[in-house]
């Protein structure tokens, strides 16, 4: 078609964003962040320090030394509140590291593939296909199960497939961005490729990518919990909600709170991330 090409739709979709919900979600998220980052400074909790005399205390029970176990204790007499707080830290650190790693790698690969096209694109796209086809959590299970336990391994295991989402999104956006007239204009001038990508592509990819980052964060947190639940990945001295849930499995009959509480904490974190993510997606992103 010639003539007027970029006309708005007859009824431009007005996305009903819900700033209040998003604001609440943000507050909750910040709360988790504070708990995860500052909580450990306030609550002294040693994941290895057991107190076998105070095992399996219910919520609000009093310990042998007179202190109150606000959220009860687990099978080794460890404070549940402490585990939740330290678990929050683990989840947040892993979630952020995974997202950061995936974002950087995915953004770099995706924009390069989309911008350079040709063989670079073919190679990266096929790699993406392969990783997409194989269940990410399975890959993580295989990696985390085979390598030595450490936080780094977990981050690695979750990132191996995690960057693909970013790369796909970035590639797709870049493919359409590189057809934009302003990119053509810059090409005509002869702007070098790195400058081109940084100045003319990435600023427009970063919005949807940020929106995706929240989703991926939620996914990483859930996957980490899954790995820990299966007893893979994290060293036992690192508290993880998934691990606590797994530990509580054997006490479902007698001490349900061990499994229930970390699950609730986890759900709360992921829900608020999801709400914020939905909001960001509406504001910045593409719908898928």
């Amino acid at each position: 078609m010639s003539a007027i090409a970029a006309r708005p739709r007859l009824w431009p979709v007005r996305l009903r964003s819900t700033p209040t919900v998003a604001a609440i979600a943000t507050v909750v998220l910040v709360g988790y962040l504070l708990v995860g980052l500052i909580g450990p400074l306030l609550i002294a909790y040693d994941p290895v320090a057991t107190s076998v005399a105070d095992r399996l205390l219910p919520i609000g029970a009093v310990r042998a030394d007179g202190t109150v176990a606000l959220l009860g204790t687990d099978g080794a007499g460890r404070d549940m509140l402490g585990q939740l707080v330290y678990g929050a830290r683990t989840s947040i650190i892993i979630g952020i590291s995974v997202v950061a790693a995936c974002l950087v790698v995915g953004l770099a690969f995706g924009t390069l593939a989309g911008y350079l096209a040709g063989w670079t694109d073919v190679a990266i796209s096929r790699l993406i296909d392969i990783l997409m086809a194989f269940p990410g959590i399975l890959l993580a299970i295989v990696i985390a199960g085979l390598l030595e336990r450490s936080m780094l391994v977990v981050v690695l295991a979750l990132s191996v497939a995690g960057w693909v989402g970013f790369a796909r999104l970035a590639r797709g956006l870049t493919l359409s961005l590189r057809e934009r007239p302003w990119v053509d204009a810059a090409r005509l001038i002869g702007v070098p490729t790195p400058v081109m990508i940084i100045r003319h592509i990435i600023p427009f990819v970063i919005g949807p990518v940020t929106a995706l980052a929240t989703t991926e964060f939620a996914g990483a947190v859930l996957s980490e919990a899954g790995l820990s639940f299966l007893g893979l990945g994290l060293p036992s001295a690192t508290v993880s909600w998934g691990q606590v849930i797994a530990n509580g499995k054997d006490y479902l009959d007698t001490a349900w709170w061990i499994s229930a509480l970390p699950g609730l904490a986890l759900t709360g974190l992921v829900v608020s991330t999801g709400l914020l993510g939905d909001h960001l997606t509406q504001r910045l992103g593409t719908s898928r």
């Binding site: 078609m1 003539a3 007027i4 006309r7 007859l10």
Partner: protein, 338 residues
């Protein structure tokens, strides 16, 4: 192209007399929610569409043409607030129940859209989409098929027997627009709203679609509200024209008169800007500044910042519509000689 006035045609007798207004729009205002609160995108607009005649809505981008047409068919975006009256056969469309309005759509008032690609469902055959309104009306399938093929034939789609089973992506732009016209005709409406029906098309195709619209109007006696920013299209098709600027009407009158001797400075500027093909014209003295959107409509006459003749009065006082000749109204404090 053969717009002969046939004296034996009874409708043209009516046409030459004072034609009965089919739709009378009075003081229509539309407010839309914008990022900074409600914006009055259409402000106090009044005009009529007469039976069997074509009224053209002219105006530059953002002047509120589409919103006006959309208000008539009743499909404004959510959150739109409409005030004023739209009299249709004695009933007010503004206050009419949604149920009744829906029944009116397609059958009483139909609409043709600018971008025929986007307006057709990509997963359904053209025939299905053209005949949808008939099918919903309870017509038997065989008859629907026959009527659809007949309709496609009438709008000039070759081989309608095979073409009706094809999908939109198998149609060219011009054919798609023809299919849109056929869809609008399917309900035998009394009024067709055509929003920029040829803007996306090549000149050669545009000429054919315009001819088609004229033929349809003449043959079926339908009234048409034609929305366009292309004055040349208007000059060829519209009986009456309404010129809009920033959500307000500048000038109303018969097409020939308005475009030949514009009374409003804005209309005049538009007319001189149009380059001619059949004779060499110099590039017109351009208007200063840019068209304003309704959101930033200036006080007084919305056109005053770009008007060479603007006075203090224009800056403060909104000019009301005033009659300058028979069937000719202008919203200007200092209209040109009509």
């Amino acid at each position: 192209m053969n717009r002969s006035s046939n004296v034996t045609d009874p409708s043209s007798a009516v046409l030459d007399a004072e034609p009965a207004p089919l739709l009378r729009v009075e003081h229509l205002s539309i407010d839309l929610p914008g990022p900074a609160g409600q914006v009055r995108v259409v402000d106090d607009v009044s005009f009529t569409v007469a039976e069997g005649r074509t009224t053209g809505l002219i105006g530059e981008s953002g002047s509120g043409k589409t919103m006006t047409a959309t208000a008539i068919i009743g499909l404004l975006p959510a959150g739109a607030a409409v005030s004023g009256r739209m009299a249709w056969h004695g009933e007010d469309l503004v206050t009419m129940a949604e149920q009744d309005r829906r029944r009116l759509r397609g059958r009483g008032i139909a609409m043709i859209f600018q971008d025929p690609q986007a307006a057709l469902d990509p997963t359904q055959t053209i025939g299905r989409q053209v005949g949808e309104i008939l099918r919903r009306g309870g017509m038997p399938a065989k008859e629907v098929r026959r009527t659809v093929i007949d309709l496609l034939d009438r709008v000039g789609i070759p081989n309608p027997e095979t073409r009706h089973a094809q999908y939109p992506h198998q149609y060219s732009g011009g054919l798609r627009q023809r299919a849109m016209v056929a869809t609008a005709l399917a309900g035998s409406p009394q009024l067709i709203l055509a929003d920029e029906p040829t803007t996306a098309l090549d000149v050669t195709v545009q000429a054919r679609i315009l001819a088609l619209l004229r033929r349809v109007r003449d043959e079926e006696g339908m009234a048409m509200l034609l929305v366009s920013h292309d004055l040349r299209v208007m000059a060829h098709v519209a009986d009456e024209v309404v010129v809009m600027y920033a959500g307000r009407i500048c000038e109303v009158g018969s097409g020939r008169e308005v475009l030949n001797s514009p009374a409003h400075p804005y209309t005049r500027a538009l007319v001189v800007s149009v380059p001619a093909v059949r004779s060499k014209t110099a590039i017109a003295e351009p208007l200063p500044g840019n068209p304003v959107s309704p959101a930033e409509r200036p006080s007084g006459c919305p056109f005053h910042p770009r008007c060479a003749k603007a006075q203090d009065r224009c800056r403060s006082e909104v000019p009301q519509m005033r009659q300058v000749a028979a069937g000719r109204q202008v919203a200007c404090h200092f209209p040109e000689e009509a």
